[in-house]
């Protein structure tokens, strides 16, 4: 019943689940943060994730080498990103729409390959949990933070790295400049096209890893449409995080923790209709954003193609 929710087991369970559930969102949303900071909205994340998930799974299954699988997922994501970059930068296509196209392509293609290459659903041994010596023995904390797999740890390491790159490096400065004022950046000799190519391909690569984190690290299985909308949630989380990696982290954790909480609500037989419980993370994400009215403005050039004045 409801008082059961306030126990140490449940708290640890929620935190540990939340950290795992947030992993794919983190990769995908941080990648999306880079591309949005440079002025490109990529709605195709879901498709990139699905293709990445399949590529990682299939290559790992056939070769037995998880790292090769991960590398393939990154490559597949990067190629999808390259295509997206060509379409948005060179052909100046409407970004929201081309993203939907790439989403549908990834959704269909991953399913097609799955059906043609695999007779049925199979499982593999994914990246094992790494128990950090000493720390993983701390009761509670150890289970939550220090007994996850490598792709979970690196997702959280990615957050400060992304923050550092965006805010403390010349590259980050260029990315932000291109997203805020491409004309000025261009006149200062920054290649808007090159920067955007970089961020979109980076975004695709990270989405590929996001997919791989599901198929060869967290779930160790591939099933059609297995991301089930996670790519769209990831895009939403970029807005939640106001285009800052730390904000994205906050959003991903909030969404995932509430999702973990609703699983517990059902498991503890608290009398709430399951659908109402499932709605909770979505509703709460909106409500939190309402409560903390953000003053951060979107990158000015977001969704705007850049063309040099002649």
């Amino acid at each position: 019943m409801i008082q059961d929710l306030f126990s140490v087991t449940v708290l640890i369970g929620i935190l540990a689940s939340g950290i795992r559930l947030a992993t794919p969102y983190l990769y995908a949303a941080i990648g999306e943060t880079f591309s949005q900071r440079s002025g490109v909205l990529n709605l195709g994340v879901e498709g990139q994730m699905l293709l990445g998930a399949f590529a990682a799974f299939y290559v790992s299954l056939r070769t037995g080498n998880l790292w090769l699988g991960l590398l393939t997922a990154m490559l597949v994501g990067a190629v999808m990103g390259l295509a997206m970059a060509y379409v948005t930068v060179n052909l100046q296509a409407q970004q929201g729409i081309s993203g939907i196209g790439f989403y549908l392509f990834g959704l269909g293609m991953s399913d097609l390959l799955f059906q043609k290459l695999m007779p049925t659903v199979e499982t593999i041994r994914g990246f094992p949990r790494i128990y950090i010596p000493g720390l993983s023995d701390i009761p509670g904390i150890g289970e939550i933070f220090f007994s996850q797999n490598i792709l979970v740890y690196s997702a959280y390491l990615l957050v400060p790295v992304a923050w550092f790159v965006l805010n403390k490096t010349t590259l980050g400065l260029k990315i932000r400049a291109v997203g805020e004022n491409p004309d000025a950046a261009d006149s200062l000799g920054v290649s808007v096209a090159r920067v955007r190519y970089f961020t979109i391909i980076l975004g695709g690569t990270l989405s590929g890893i996001a997919g791989a984190s599901l198929s060869i690290a967290l779930l160790n299985v591939f099933q059609q449409n297995m991301t089930s909308g996670a790519g769209f949630i990831a895009v939403a989380l970029v807005y939640f995080g106001a285009w800052r990696p730390i904000g994205v982290l906050g959003g991903a954790l909030l969404f995932s923790m509430v999702n973990a909480l609703q699983l517990w609500v059902q498991v503890l037989n608290i009398p709430i209709e399951p659908e109402i419980a499932v709605m909770m993370p979505y509703v709460l994400t909106i409500l939190v954003l309402v409560a903390t009215v953000s003053r951060v403005r979107a990158p000015s050039a977001l969704t705007k193609p850049f063309e040099r004045e002649n």
């Binding site: 799955f114 059906q115 499982t123 059609q224 999702n259 699983l263 059902q266 498991v267 399951p274």
Partner: protein
């Protein structure tokens, strides 16, 4: 400019070729003796769940009947859009298939509309018992509560912690039947065992399903079960925690050979064979079939690699017999 004109010409030629072909496209009439079946189903044929159970059954029927020359079947997979499924059903009926199977309870209303227009075609709709009183609709369903009950009996017997976790999609249809049967089986064996049920609100969210399994394990469950195609991730979590798993719809042993105890497997071919026999003798519908333990439409398949204690196995066998001869009644809420 030049480029686009060149491009345009090619495309115009191409489209003319296409439309010319379109005019010629005709359906070759099938030889009279060949039995032709079309099936429309909601997910992929390799989902290791509902759709695959039908696909595998059709393959088995084909083998039994002597290969593609005697029994031909075509399918439309991934027809989760009800409206697209309706178009597919109508189209297959137009092409003169002997039997058109609508493998999804959501297709019922469409079938009700379409069937009267094709009085010489036989239709089958599952999973349900409703033929709408029409002479050319068969209805079929799986008594998934029966296998659920057996799984429940075994689960209650094998659970040390007396806590069992269930992962489901939405509380309806086949999933609901299975889960309710499972709960009844547990309650009949050991009322002190706690069954926690989690409906995750989706048939596709593998990540949430597997985290639901983890949550059950954290809450003390040492035996898990689940239904529909998104539970494939949950099985892995059970394996990691060395909890036992009970499967349904298809045989899920291959996913985690060390911990899957048993799977309830649908053998639709039992029902398909009956339908085909009726159709050949001129009865095109109007009956409903239930795949159950008694008629072999449902089979309990045990994992040979799992050392199931002999007394548990004999209890399961006795329960199966009890359900078959009617001494065990499963009461559903």
């Amino acid at each position: 400019m030049k480029k686009s004109v060149w491009f345009l010409c090619i495309l115009i030629v191409l489209s003319m070729v296409l439309s010319a072909c379109g005019a010629q496209a005709t359906e070759a009439p099938a030889p009279a003796e060949k039995f032709r079946v079309a099936v429309v189903m909601p997910s992929a044929i390799n989902d290791l769940a509902f759709s695959q159970s039908m696909y595998d059954a059709l393959v088995r029927v084909q083998t039994e009947m002597g290969g593609p020359d005697a029994f031909e079947f075509v399918y439309s997979d991934g027809m989760f859009v009800v409206d697209d499924a309706a178009a597919a059903i109508r189209d297959y009926a137009t092409q003169g298939y002997n039997l058109v199977i609508a493998h999804g309870s959501q297709y019922g209303s469409s079938l009700q509309e379409i069937a009267p227009d094709f009085p010489n075609t036989s239709f089958a709709w599952g999973t349900t018992v409703d033929t709408f009183g029409q002479p050319n609709i068969f209805a079929y369903e799986a008594a998934s509560q029966e296998g659920g009950y057996i799984n429940g009996v075994l689960a209650a017997t094998l659970s040390q912690s007396k806590v069992i976790g269930v992962v489901g999609p939405i509380e309806t249809g086949d999933a609901k039947l299975y889960v309710d049967g499972f709960k009844a089986g547990v309650a009949a064996t050991d009322p002190s065992v706690q069954v926690n049920v989690n409906y995750i609100g989706s048939f596709s969210d593998v990540a949430l399903a597997s985290e639901a399994a983890t949550t059950h394990i954290s809450a003390g469950a040492d035996v898990l079960t689940g239904t529909a195609q998104m539970v494939v991730g949950a099985i892995g979590k059970a394996e990691e925690a060395d909890a036992l798993w009970f499967g349904t719809q298809s045989n899920q042993t291959s996913l985690a050979p060390s911990i899957v105890v048993a799977s309830q497997v649908y053998h639709w071919e039992v029902i398909l064979n009956e339908m085909i026999g009726l159709i050949k003798s001129g009865t095109l519908g109007g009956r409903s079939f239930t795949a159950n333990l008694a008629n072999g439409g449902e089979v309990m398949e045990y994992n040979p690699d799992y050392a199931l204690p002999a007394d548990a196995k004999s209890l399961a066998d006795k329960t199966v017999q009890g359900i078959i001869d009617g001494t065990i009644k499963i009461s559903l809420p």
